[in-house]
Symmetry: C2
Subunit: 328 residues, 2 copies
DNA sequence: ATGAAAGCGCTAACAT
DNA sequence: ATGTTAGCGCTTTCAT
């Protein structure tokens, strides 16, 4: 029996007689033989690998994305490379180049690269952007502007008239989306707002930033705070507890992302749930589509819905007298 | 100029005249040329990749491990494959086989595979175990037994005489280590203890398990609880807050792992800090050592120290009268 | 110090 | 339906 027949039994089963194929597969199983992917890739030009690059492997938001991406990839019998861009554009670029030949495509999560660079990346590999949208590139984004609108509406319905947004990194696409949503929703529901921050510390937007911003939030006199993400929100919550400020009696708090942490803190955090696992899956999905269709066709952009999860950190605003008392 | 010279410029720079090499490298840089790793691997037998398999990508403990592993690998210009074993032994085995040809080595984190299987895995690829020790296999373990001792000593010094351990999965190596440490420390410090659980729900030992165990903990009459991990501890904390039980006034709580969450909850959790990022780095380190030395030499086993981090969930036990009151 | 050539494990034409 | 063969991009003898 020739090597070609064996090869065909794996790659084009139909092209081989049933009996032969079964014999091949049986022996292969016994020998634990599996075609060497590297060698296969050398000739087919496809590696069977995808890469996922995130800005920070320490950030829970990306864990969920990674989990989704890995699961989806595995279902298609693809393996996934991960890399941590360390919040650095240049490291991210190096990573892309290092991966280039080893993968069929790359999912770039919340890329720190400038738009121009993103637009000019050459394929292969095919790249799919997550939480970023740039002309000519396939992408998956989460509708966080709408999430913000839901949050503001919720606050307005509770009676809040004045809120503050603790902003994330100014250049961040997601942050811009959220601010846009805020502007629109605030106008629609007649609530005033103020923006604090950005609060990005080293290593991304973190808990500590929230801790440090809590008092500034109090000083604004707002009755509700919307945080750029859950980590910041929980930081605020933590400092508020130290300060003895009641949540939500004295101040309502809303987060973003709905990372597992959000449900675990006391009181459980009201937050805008972003479908992160699904976003990871969708990104790989779009990647596969694109791999199939070729880079000639128009790249798709998928938008996933956000959903407000009301837990226990939001409630009616305090009565005026009480606030006035506090502020002195 | 021949391909051989180019190849040598990259792989054995010394074997090529300075002038030639520089010329090669210059042109390569200009063309963004990099040797194709797959093709190289085909002939050298080394891929330049390592695999990391974790039981659950959703578990914060493993994020830290992954972060460390990725960082260490990247420093050596290795790329890393990740895969999620989904807490399943068979999936884990499949993953190992799928990776086999694509990596030089695999880091197996808290493997769910039985010892016999682990011992009989064939190399290549070289495997390094994390949080598991089996004869003949290289491994990195964290001294969680000692961490447990530190925790018990701390409680004993505060005056606690009766505590309860909320156990993790019975078959888990780490869990066994912790129980062993507990037994020894309890005897040394004359502390009585009781074991509750195991509490493993679907998807590992989680927050929810803690929530569900909190009341059982109260019923034991113990003045302190040691949880298998931080997730469980935080679950207990959360339920306790709902129940209006003061921590640490009425009950002290100690976690394990020191995941970021531990510092973020209110009150901040006293916990045994395990050097997870370093464990990830160490595992890849050991892997590289082994790759260099060949599988003939005796496999090393590295043990990393644990350290108790005292935050705000531990304090002196309540006075008897108060407890007696509570229990009726 | 450099080049020529074999061959790593596989797939894809092209025979038969 | 199966076999033969070229060659993917590299490294590594073996010559020179």
């Amino acid at each position: 029996m020739s090597v070609a027949t064996v090869s065909r039994s794996f790659t084009v089963p139909a092209s081989v007689a049933n009996a032969t194929r079964e014999r091949v597969l049986a022996v292969a199983a016994e020998l634990h033989y599996e075609p060497n992917r590297a060698a296969r890739g050398l000739i087919t030009g496809r590696t069977g690998n995808v890469g996922v690059i995130v800005p920070d492997l320490g950030n829970p938001y990306f864990h969920a994305v990674l989990k989704g991406a890995q699961a989806r990839a595995r279902r298609a019998d693809y393996a996934v490379f991960v890399a941590d861009g360390q919040e650095s554009a240049s490291e991210e670029e190096d990573l892309i180049n290092a991966m280039r030949k080893q993968v069929d495509g790359i999912v770039l999560c919340s890329s720190r690269l400038p738009t121009a660079k993103l637009a000019s990346l050459d394929n292969p590999p095919t790249v799919v952007l997550l939480n970023r949208r740039v002309a000519g590139r396939a992408s998956v984004v989460v509708d966080s502007a709408d999430g913000m609108k839901q949050a503001v509406r919720h606050l307005a319905e509770l009676g809040h008239r004045r809120c503050v947004f603790v902003s994330g990194p100014r250049r961040s696409w997601s942050n811009q989306q959220r601010q846009q949503g805020l502007r629109a929703a605030a106008r629609a529901h007649r609530v005033e707002y103020e923006i604090l921050g950005p609060v990005a510390g080293a290593g991304g937007v973190q808990f500590q930033s929230g801790v440090e911003t809590a008092e500034q939030v109090l000083e604004t006199g707002a009755t509700a705070v919307l945080a750029y993400n859950d980590l910041v929100a929980v930081g605020i919550l933590s400092r508020l507890a130290e300060l003895g400020v009641g949540v939500p009696e004295e101040l309502s708090v809303v987060g973003f992302d709905d990372i597992p942490l959000a449900a675990m803190v006391t009181p459980p955090l009201t937050t805008v749930s972003l479908p992160t696992v699904q976003a990871g899956e969708a990104a790989v999905d779009v990647l596969f589509e694109r791999l199939r269709s070729g880079d000639s066709v128009q790249p798709t952009s998928r938008k996933l819905p956000a959903e407000l999860i009301v837990r226990s950190t939001t409630g009616p605003p305090p009565r005026r007298a009480k606030r006035a008392l506090r502020s002195h």
